[in-house]
Amino acid sequence: MNSSIRRIASTLAVACVLLAGCAGTPSRVDPFEPWNRAMYSVHEVVDGNVIKPIAQTYVKVTPEPVRTGVSNFYGNIDDLFTGINHVLQGKKERAGDDFGRVLLNSTFGILGIFDLASEMGITKDKTDFGITFGKWGAPQGPYLFVPLFGPTTVRDGTGWVVRLYTGPIGYIDNVPLRNWLIALGYLDTRAQLLSAESVLDAAALDKYRYLRNAYLRARRYQVYDGKPPPEEEEE
């Protein structure tokens, strides 16, 4: 696997540990709010000036069927990890559907470019290592905003590091091909977030906070399978 990604990942992991070490708590969920807000500003500048315009251009110049094929290709890899995590969560039946989707779409769907499984009624689902850790009882840990990556927490971020190390694209030996695939995957994700982002822009009084609240609630909802116990109100 790509050594630079590995380096980034381990730097991140070290940063998480360091940050967790100096936890003086202004807020329970977001003890590093000042740092996170600074990172959010960095993100807004870099993303807003470079990444977002590229993603918008990509959406504008690429025909929709092509973009759908690209999304499906990466979505197929997501399905694989969704299946693995459903197994780890003890949901065998759902995992069977996920692996069935991967088998079908990877073969007849040509490397996942066509989502035949959905057309046959095997619905897509989504889960990840962060949710699995949560179901195993790991607390979220402090909230983190990582520039160019987005909202996460110590737990969910750790899940992403696991995913980075194990993802199939990392095992491709042809370095340029691998890097192009990583870049295209990033672009695809960013392009898919454009509409969610415009909702955030419209809705939020304080975008950093709105995003944090929404992220943490959505993740909590997933860990509890859509039936979270009522939240204790802060203060």
Binding site: K124, D201, A202, L205, Y210, N213, R217, A218, P228, E234
Partner: protein
């Protein structure tokens, strides 16, 4: 002759709609309104292109009448709602309504390819407060749960909370609203909302 038939049919249709609105069950209401809005978007190129005036008109005519904005505002403010005067409550509700309508306006044009599934309603006949569960399917994506908290009112069932994938579009504001009130009072919050609503509609 044909005109008379048309007008009789029209009157009958009107009467039926009025009756439907008076007695419609909450889950039937959600389904009817959602399908109606989806159909309208699918059949209108301007809506798909995000023509804001038309989207806003669609929301005002078909969606907004089924929401209880005062209750939504009260819910977003939590215990601070009671500390606001009736005039402040009115202003807050109006501003919050504008904010929510604007938020929806930005999102709605992307709904063309969505299809909705409606979960059977779990409630007892006498219930006056229910949760209607739906999920939205988009091509190539995992479905997203959208739940509507609804209460029975004299003019039919009204939604007072919308929960998208576990995130309430209403209570997600609560801690922000609390802080605004703590630092600059209810009027401070009114001003914050008004300023946000005066800003450009993000595209």
């Amino acid at each position: 002759m044909i005109y008379r038939w048309v007008s009789i049919l029209f009157a009958a249709a009107l009467a039926l709609t009025a009756q439907a609105q008076a007695q419609e069950a909450p889950d039937a209401l959600v389904k009817r309104v959602s399908e109606d809005v989806l159909q309208t978007i699918r059949g209108d190129k301007d809506l798909q292109a995000g023509n804001q005036a038309k989207v806003k008109q669609l929301i005002e005519s078909k969606l907004a009448p089924h929401f209880d904005f005062a209750r939504m505002t009260a819910l977003a403010m939590g215990r601070n709602w009671r500390s606001a005067t009736p005039e402040q409550q009115k202003t807050l509700s109006d501003e919050f309504r504008t904010l929510l309508v604007r938020t929806y306006s930005g999102a709605l044009s992307n709904y063309r390819d969505n299809t909705m599934d409606y979960a059977p309603l779990r409630s007892n006949p006498g219930d006056t407060d229910v949760i209607v569960r739906t999920s939205v399917r988009r091509p190539g994506q995992a479905p997203v749960q959208i739940d509507y908290s609804m209460a029975k009112t004299p003019d039919g069932w009204k939604a007072y909370d919308v929960i998208v994938a576990g995130v309430s579009l209403v209570t997600n504001y609560r801690d922000e609203f609390n802080d605004a009130i703590k630092s600059s009072g209810v009027d401070g919050l009114v001003k914050m909302l008004a300023d946000k609503n005066k800003g450009p509609t993000p595209k």
